[in-house]
Amino acid sequence: MKNTRRKFLKVAGLAVLGWSMRPASRLMAAHGAQSAEGLFMASKHGAPKHGEGLHAGRWIMLIDTNKLTPAIEQKCINACHTNHNVPDIETKQNIKWIWAEPLHNVFPEQMHENIPGGTERTTLVLCNHCTNPPCVRVCPTKATFQREDGIVMMDFHRCIGCRYCMAACPYGSRSFNFMDPRPHIKDAIPEFPTRTKGVVEKCEFCSERLAEGKLPYCVEVSEGAMMFGDLEDPESEVRKVLASRYSIRRKPELGTEPGVYYLI
């Protein structure tokens, strides 16, 4: 009797162990089979390549700091925040996807006070959709991930709210839902999901609009101050502008390779 119980426990224990390891083994196999990427690389998920919508090898954004005025900036912010159900919270626990900052805050190590127009002049800041995103590197659940076209996305259903990505982001581009955001949204747009408390969110380069063949909201209302296009296409408009105008990116010394370029 004692022997059989012992045997049963042994088998049951091994079975539980094996079962608990299954998801992990499946994941490693999937990694090996689908791509050459190693376990230590930032997780990359596929972006839609076929069918309708806009596609690119690497999406980037250009912001013309000279064309932006406070009025245009506000239009861009409103267009983004209204259409993405970003709650309007007044405290320091607020949510921002795109917002205006003085130049000396945006480029703390690249500005001096005698530039034309001074450094109090504002420009727009948002997620840089870095080529080497530190947020993706640190996320313990792959809730934030990078698409092959460079867009850094959020899975609001997988995020555990550890806020490691917020500590890792060198641009302060991420916001956390400290509270339930829904009471703070005036007129929720049914086309875009609202979020719950306890998850991180940020700009996603309007991936939902790209899928419909449309440009991001902010670009659309920016009166030509913002551009969006494919860095890998030499014939693209953004490549032509980059070749003809002087541009800088935020904190280039960190090696994150931002996908948002500022025309000076």
Binding site: P140, R158, D180
Partner: protein, 382 residues
Amino acid sequence: MLEKVLKGNKVYWGWLAILLALMAVGAVCYGKQLVNGLTITGMSRDVSWGFYIAQFTFLVGVAASAVMMVIPKYLHDYKAYGKILIFGEFNAVAMVCLCLMFIIADLGSPQRLMNIIIHPTPNSMLFWDMIVLNGYLLINIFVGWITLQAYRKEVAPPQWIKFFIYLSIPWAVSIHTVTAFLYCGLPGRGYWMDAILASRFLASAFAAGPAFLIILLYIVKATTSFDPGKEALKSLGKTIAYAMSINLFLVLCEVFTVNYSNIPSHLHHWHYLFFGDGVLVPWMWTSMSMCFVGVLILIVPSNRESDNMLIFGCLFVFIGAWIDKGLGMIGGGFVPNALMEITEYVPTQLELGVALGIYAAGFLILTMLTKIAVGVKLEVGE
């Protein structure tokens, strides 16, 4: 051995009752946090980690300190630690439990905690922290229990347990190293971006941890008839003096590098912590002074002979290290933020209530484990 927990005098039960009451307070506060979200804390978009993560960081160090007795005992056959080693191991168990509770308290969506295991992500340091912390917890439960059981039966512990004892040495180093790696691998956080952060963490841990143990053992001595032995306490005091000296030296190395190089992204954090108008300035000066005074007390051999001076030295070192890591390390890292703006962080009452409840739970575990250890020691007759 568990039955030892069920027998105790009025002081023991009174203490447990106090801890349970504090846990109830913490549970109520945490309930509010679950309903309303982390908005009940003082954290913000700019300072997105606060008191919880800071306590976790500090307590990892207190947990790792058991190794400061394991090394002399098992690698150098220093017998004085044989009597009290079990308290270090059980203390590690309680401290790692505290760490895990603080991490869970800090999660915005704790109901998804298992996503870390369901979607394992080795490029995240948090994944490795989960592994080393849980591993260290298991090793210490295992080693502590087996050796205490052998001691109770008055037989030598089984030979194979040596493997786990030796394993616990690098493992103890790993828990604090990985915890430092959580911070020092982040681009754009000048205060943490520092190769000696892990060594600094270890040095201050090997001071604060043994300091806590000495205080714990004096409490055990005062409340029971168990005598930890003066020799062991004096030696631990010596360890603290050396470890804290190394920690202060490493801090000075950073102060030099940051100030002489004059790189703003690193300098601003130090300026905020020590010279600005920030809330942490008086705390940081207090911390540094207490660590310094603690070393001055403990470095003098005759002070380590005196019970009172030893306790005082330990209190100074422990509180100094707690302020440095439990308040300054996280606050200083996030302020100023990525855009060089200053957003102050002060924990709220509810946040402190949750932390109080967690501490009470940790101390409940520590009390019960210590009770078992003392009970067995007295039963065998030391």
